[in-house]
Amino acid sequence: MAFPMTTPPVVQVEGLLHDYGPRRALAGIDFFVNAGEIFGLLGPNGGGKTTLFRILSTLLRPTAGHASVLGFDVARRPREVRAGIGVVFQAPALDRKLTVRENLETQGHLYGLGGRGLRQAADAMLSRVGLSDRAGDRVETLSGGLMRRAEIAKGLLHRPRLLLLDEPSTGLDPGARNDLWEQLRELRARDGVTVLLTTHLMEEAERCDRLAILSRGALVACETPRALKAEIGGDVLAIASSDPERLRPEIERRFGGPVSVVDGVIRIERPRAHELVPAIIEAFPEQIESVTIGHPTLLDVFIRKTGHRFWGEAAR
């Protein structure tokens, strides 16, 4: 890692475990987030991301294990944690009936700001996210992208050192999504804010400095996106077929393994896999509908690490 290890981690999680009744949502996970990182929690819906997010934002007490944020234990010292973090939830936490400015003012009062200091902080944050001209408008009149900006302005008003975002791109069009990332990067560069976000979008995960992949409550990987993809190496062939289950062992027998079927698509992942294409097509001309070749993506990493694919579910 390129990050200096002189400062203690902003987030430190050890053996974190959470049960909802008999259902285990987090099965004892460990990771840390360094100061100044943009850290992503990637995983399918129901994989434990939201539980982890709620624990880190002090809304939920873990069943066992330990999580500290900015040096404070989230279960024992929630007040100190809360004062230092900004939280942007997936469901907008803005009051739609209030104006953007009124929302920021309410937020400021909750964080001990007031008077002129609060007005200046609100003005600065509004111009920062480009909402100065909409300050007097009710939140319910804003577009999804502007609402998310107001949400971030609200989360940053008290100048937190750590910003937690739950699925920040949900409901945003690609333009607004780019805006969001511009802002996160600028925030890190200008104020040294550390960012931790959850996502189920590969495209978003790709932009993080480091990623933790969560599946069924377990942490299956924690690395930079580049390192994760490098682990796979080579190319990935995706073969569409009318009967993938029958074709899979045939390919494996003829060309060697491993060959997997994920969501009805046969996947072969190995160095120089592209050289197999003509041979495979010639060997099974009837059964093959199409062959796609590509470099490994985070999706391939995910499939390799978890043995299942959540694309269809996540794309809903």
Partner: protein, 262 residues
């Protein structure tokens, strides 16, 4: 402390601003009790037997304080039902992760509801002379204090119910089977005198009975037919305040429990 007040004040202010921006809420909490008063007042005029046996108390006058209590109850319900929306829409989560004591959250909500109830109750109270109840500065001041105490208790109670609910439908069910009977049995609508023994027992167990008794005793400082057979002033005030404190304490305890696991 300054921080606590600033946070509480901001949440209170939000309640009031929201209320003023939702015109139909103003209408709902105020209009229904007034319509009740007008219709029941007219319909029950001839069949009503006042508690003291005196024939001079008209039903419209008897029912008037109960109408105001109903306005307080409806306002309490409407303002705490927004907790369920706040939870669903996410505003509440934002407050829950703020570095403020939970007491600030509960107090902001309850005082917000109390303020709205007081404003609407006062509006109707000023019409008391139309119902045959004369007002004086003393009566007005006393009534305001009673309305604050009753509204505080009702909003706190309503908070307790709304806190764990995740649908407004569920809240409506509770409102029908718990909160409305609380009001019906308080002596707002019919006097305890003349009711069967089991009903009188229920009425005596209803904390709102004492809020209403207190209200009547303040409205009629000289006593007379309208206060005949009611619990005494001190006892009523004591029970009303105790109920408010208990309901608020419960609301605070509920809201302070960590980690809703949903």
């Amino acid at each position: 402390m300054r921080r606590f007040l600033s946070a509480t004040g901001a949440l209170l202010k939000r309640e009031v601003v929201r209320f003023l921006r939702e015109r139909n809420r103003v209408f709902g909490a105020l209009a229904q009790p007034v319509i009740f008063w007008a219709l029941f007042g007219a319909g029950l005029r001839s069949s009503f037997r006042p508690p003291g046996g005196g024939a001079r108390l008209a039903y419209g006058e008897y029912f008037f304080p109960g109408t105001i209590i109903l306005i307080l109850l409806f306002t309490a319900i409407f303002s705490t039902i927004s907790l369920i929306e706040d939870r669903r829409e996410g505003f509440l989560q934002g407050v829950l992760v703020a570095p403020i004591p939970r007491a600030s959250l509960v107090l902001g909500k309850v005082l917000g509801g109390t303020t709205l109830a007081l404003a609407q109750g006062t509006l109707i109270l000023l019409c008391a002379p139309l119902a045959g109840i004369p007002l004086s500065a003393g009566i007005l001041a006393g009534s305001l204090a009673v309305m604050v105490a009753v509204a505080f208790g009702l909003t706190s109670l309503s908070f307790c119910i709304a806190w764990r609910m995740d649908s407004t439908q569920g809240f409506h069910a509770i409102m029908t089977v718990l909160l409305m009977p609380l009001w019906l049995l308080s002596g707002s609508f019919f006097p305890a005198a003349g009711a069967p023994a089991w009903l009188r027992l229920l009425m005596a167990a209803d904390p709102l009975t004492y809020g209403l008794a207190l209200f009547r005793r303040v409205l009629y400082p000289a006593g007379g037919g309208a206060t005949a057979g009611l619990p005494g002033l001190i006892a009523s005030a004591g029970i009303t305040i105790a109920f408010g404190a208990l309901a608020f304490g419960t609301a605070l305890a509920l809201a302070s429990r960590p980690g809703r696991s949903s």
